[in-house]
């Protein structure tokens, strides 16, 4: 139980008043010589049971009455928020609101989402507690801005649902920066979230830094977590994995691949009507969902021959979370897939050029151009999808060109030069070549994701059949995608914010490896890299909400919009937008479809040593988190007074005229 006026609890010692008065009264006794002792002794013998209890009851009720009064004026709150508002009214209250799609999940038997319930609870609770200043940090912008009151949460568009994932560490960082910048007095931070693992990123090193930063705050900050960890028992999410337009003999068609994933334990086989909406033209196909995930590959939807560019939407019947029941996509003629090859070794250059030049589909226009390092500045980089580099790592202006190419979203694959130098790019440096008489086999590779993943048909790439005659070591921070026997990396990816940077430990030259002779792996790699690199070149783009592309002009105009949000926040709401000559489909990030929740113990660890309190709520909960319960104490006081009065009532008038 907490109190809104806890300082009034200082009056609690007053409960001792009846006892003190009783004791003082007893000290003020009179002494009298008394004759009729036999009646007093008899009276004392009679003072058993209720008679003796009565005095204690009177004392108890008097004490209760005072305690009830003191508690009532202290304005007690019934809540699970231990120690809530223990220091009185907060100077600043910062609200961190998770608006991610998973927060739009509805509770069973209610039409209210976690986000709506959380906003209501926060508005009601914080309004009751009160604060001098209100600050909102919502998950889309991660920027603090001040509110007039806690009740503004209910109507604020910026507190509504969004399609972007939340980044709790970043939100807490924003709150911390605000506190450090504004130096408020007593600060309370209220986090409203569903504890999704992707939003919390609990394993990130940022948490340790954040914790230290909060511990160092001189005024401290109390953190309250209003958690909605309960996942829906059954929720299905739809996601379009691929959209292609291809010409047919009698026109054109769209090949749409999608996946349906199901949360919860249910393994029941269900038939789900999936609706396709291509710019208003709707069609429905029933998809059988077995287990937790089902994929539909290349579903053909006929379109007009003249329609080369457009948008569509896939939707499934409404379920627990309406935010993942539809998915928008756009299509366009694929952009030309242009590759720049820079190679010092002709034997390596030729396979690379061939792999980049041959299109996997007639719909794609692939071309590969071999340039020297001197010609790099004359390349039209904004039309290039892939850079294949088999030469000493670039330095100076060339390195900057490559860096900006990657930042724009391009993909670079580096192959080792014949004579590795001490150049370093993307934090990686070539080491020395290792050659031997025997070929080294590939030991492991990531077949579940990235460039060496299985094909669409599910078959694994024949990476294991590669024979590596010589490989060059590399040093730096990277993620191995394939490793050689002995532990050395064969293919590694350097983490970058955008684009892709890959380092191969060998070249396609016949002396170095069988990448060229067994060309499947090299070809798949190059074409996948091309696809990834060209994704940012097309006029029609699939975007994850909350990840705006700097190249895309503003403003965005909604063609169709899923969430109702501010136009300035278009990139955070799912829907189809036009921006200049581009057509953009914005959807929730893939990580949002995962239902994993951060474990309670882990959450407690994250806030270890901080002034932290947590309460779990459920979507659609009608009960307020806190309630003022002073009426109960007032009633207790009144009841105690009445009972005390009843007990103190004189017995029937003593038998008058004992004298005869």
């Amino acid at each position: 139980m907490s109190f809104l006026q806890p300082w009034l609890l200082a009056g609690l010692p007053l409960v001792a008043l009846p006892i003190i008065i009783h004791l003082v009264n007893q000290r003020r006794f009179q002494t009298i010589q008394w004759a009729a002792m036999m009646f007093l002794l008899a009276a004392r013998r009679m003072a058993r049971g209720y008679s003796r209890l009565r005095q204690w009851l009177i004392m108890l009720f008097r004490t209760l009455a005072i305690a009830g009064l003191v508690f009532a004026v202290s304005r007690p709150l019934a809540s699970g928020w231990l120690g809530l508002a223990a220091g009185g009214r907060a100077d600043t209250t910062i609200i961190l609101l998770d608006r991610s799609p998973s927060m739009q999940e509805r509770g069973s038997g209610t039409g209210e989402s976690k986000l709506e319930t959380g906003r209501k609870q926060l508005a009601q609770t914080l309004q009751t507690i009160g604060s001098d200043r209100w600050v909102l940090v919502e998950s889309a912008m991660n920027e603090p801005y001040e509110l007039d009151s806690a009740a503004a949460l209910l109507n604020l568009p910026a507190a509504g649902p969004a399609s972007a994932a939340a980044d709790l560490p970043a939100m807490l960082r924003a709150a911390h920066d605000y506190i450090r910048r504004n130096r408020p007095g007593r600060t309370e931070i209220w986090i409203c979230s569903d504890l999704r693992a992707n939003d919390w990123d609990a394993e990130s090193g940022r948490w340790a830094t954040l914790r230290e930063a909060f511990l160092e705050l001189p005024q401290g900050a109390r953190i309250h977590l209003l958690a909605y960890p309960q996942a829906a028992t059954s929720n299905i999410a739809v996601r379009v994995t691929d959209v292609r337009r291809q010409a047919t003999s009698d026109g054109a068609e769209l090949l749409v691949s999608l996946s349906l994933s199901r949360e919860g334990d249910s393994e029941e086989k269900i038939s789900l009507p999936v609706q396709f909406d291509i710019e208003g033209a709707r069609s429905v196909v029933n998809v059988e969902l077995v287990g937790s995930k089902t994929e539909l590959k290349n579903h053909q939807i006929p379109i007009e021959r003249s329609r080369e560019r457009g948008w569509g939407r896939v939707s499934i019947p409404a379920d627990a979370n309406p935010a993942d029941d539809d998915f928008y996509f756009v299509f366009d003629n694929p952009p030309p897939r242009r590759t720049i090859v820079v190679a010092e070794d002709a034997q390596a250059q030729r396979p690379l050029q061939l792999a980049a030049d041959v299109a996997p589909d007639p719909a794609f226009q692939c071309s590969a151009e071999v340039v020297t390092e001197d010609q790099l500045s004359s390349v039209e980089w904004d039309q290039i999808a892939l850079l294949l580099w088999q030469a000493p790592l670039p330095t100076g202006a060339d390195a900057e060109l490559v860096q900006s190419f990657v930042d724009r979203g391009g993909v670079v694959a580096f192959f080792p030069p014949r004579n590795p130098g001490d150049e370093e790019l993307f934090g990686v440096q070539w080491q020395t070549w290792v050659t031997g008489n025997e070929h080294v086999a590939v030991e492991t590779w990531r077949s579940d994701e990235d460039m060496l993943s299985r094909t669409l048909s599910g078959a694994a790439l024949p990476v294991g059949q590669l024979e590596i005659g010589g490989h060059c070591g590399m040093k730096g921070e990277f993620t191995p995608l394939a490793t050689l026997r002995g532990g050395g990396p064969l293919l590694a990816r350097v983490p970058t914010k955008r684009g892709g940077v890959y380092f191969w430990a060998t070249t396609p030259a016949p002396a170095d490896s069988t990448l060229a002779t067994s060309g499947v792996v090299l070809y798949a790699f190059v074409q996948r890299a091309l696809a990834a690199g060209s994704a940012v070149l097309g006029k029609a783009r699939q975007l994850d909400a909350g990840e705006p592309d700097g190249d895309i002009p503003t403003p965005w105009n909604a063609v169709t919009e899923g969430d109702q949000g501010l136009s300035t926040e278009a990139s955070f709401h799912r829907g189809v937008y036009t921006a200049g000559d581009r057509l953009l489909a914005v959807n929730r990030p893939a990580a949002e479809d995962g239902a994993s929740v951060v474990a309670d113990a882990r959450v407690a660890e994250l806030f270890h040593d901080l002034n932290f309190a947590r309460v779990d709520d459920a979507a659609g909960n009608l009960r307020s988190l806190i309630q003022e319960i002073w009426r109960i104490f007032l009633a207790t006081m009144l009841i105690a007074l009445v009972l005390e009065a009843v007990l103190c009532l004189p017995k029937a008038a003593r038998a008058a005229g004992a004298t005869s």
Binding site: Q26, F29, T31, I32, Q33, W34, A36, M37, M46, A658
Partner: protein
């Protein structure tokens, strides 16, 4: 009568003068030593006819009723009631509890007044007066005498008595019942703070000895009402342990215990045909005595 003595502070001459015209009667036949105004169990020479009895040789021929002989041709002797004086034994409780009094007068003072006045009245009508002071036992005992000097002794003793010691009324009354010659008027003045059952045994014993027993039960108004407001420490006047009590707490039960005691006592006095007078010390002792004497005059003649 007090010319050679200092005035007794417990005797009021005006009260005595008002009461002297009211005789003190016994309710039962008394066995006195001389002729008096009280009924005797024996036949005598009073003017009140008692019965006819057959003549037996040796009877005084002057007592033959010749008219009866004329009517029945048999010899009858006419007998008359005898009148005698009484022996009045005043029993005054002098235990410590008799020193209590909240109205400016203690129980022992009140007892002195009643005992002194009654003694004087009895003496004036020619009855013998005695005094027994009892507390832990019979402390002093003056047997009944009917001469004036003896009355002075009684009054002197009344003046000397002090409330002291614990109450052992029951053994003392049993002893008095045995030692006082049969058919006497025994007047007990006490607060009777002993168990009613023990008192009842004493009353039965006195009744068995054919004594006419009158009891003045002296109680202080404070003892009856118990109207204290503040916590009190009650010190036993007879040396027992003291008791600390909150009057608001214990008052009800005290009253209940008192009433139980009084009810029980009332039952016993009715059963024993005791002339019981419950006196509150705020009552005028003159009125108490008038009521007492009048009630006894009304019940005179019971034999």
């Amino acid at each position: 009568m007090f010319s050679d003595r200092h005035p007794r502070r417990f005797l009021d001459a005006q009260v005595l003068s008002r009461l002297v015209g009211m005789p003190l009667f016994a309710r039962r036949p008394m066995q006195g030593s001389v002729s008096g105004r009280h009924a005797s169990p024996h036949r005598g020479a009073s003017v009140e006819f008692a019965e006819y009895r057959k003549y037996v040789p040796g009877d005084d021929l002057r007592r033959l009723d010749w008219r009866a002989y004329g009517r029945s041709d048999r010899f009858y002797v006419k007998e008359f009631e005898a009148d005698t004086n009484l022996r009045c034994c005043l029993v005054v409780d002098t235990s410590g509890s008799m020193g209590f009094g909240s109205q400016g007068v203690t129980k022992i003072d009140y007892a002195r007044r009643i005992a002194g006045t009654l003694g004087y009245l009895a003496s004036q009508q020619g009855d013998a007066v005695g005094l027994a002071c009892v507390a832990g036992g019979i402390l002093r005992n003056l047997p009944p005498r009917r001469n004036a000097p003896h009355l002075r002794l009684v009054l002197d003793l009344l003046e000397e008595i002090e409330p002291k010691g614990e109450t052992q009324l029951a053994p003392a009354l049993h002893e008095l019942a045995e030692t006082i010659r049969q058919r006497a008027l025994v007047i007990i003045l006490s607060d009777l703070f002993i168990e009613p059952a023990l008192l009842n045994e004493c009353f039965q014993h006195l009744r068995f000895r054919r004594h006419d027993v009158a009891v003045f039960h002296l109680l202080d108004p404070l003892e009856l009402d118990f109207n204290f407001r503040r916590p009190m420490r009650f010190l036993d006047m007879e040396g027992g342990p003291s008791i600390f009590a909150e009057p608001n707490d214990i008052g009800d039960r005290y009253t209940k215990a008192l009433h139980q005691y009084l009810d029980q006592l009332r039952g016993f006095v009715l059963e024993s045909a005791i002339d019981y007078q419950r006196i509150s010390l705020d009552q005028s002792y003159e009125q108490v005595l008038i009521r007492f004497l009048v009630s006894r005059a009304q019940s005179k003649g019971l034999r």
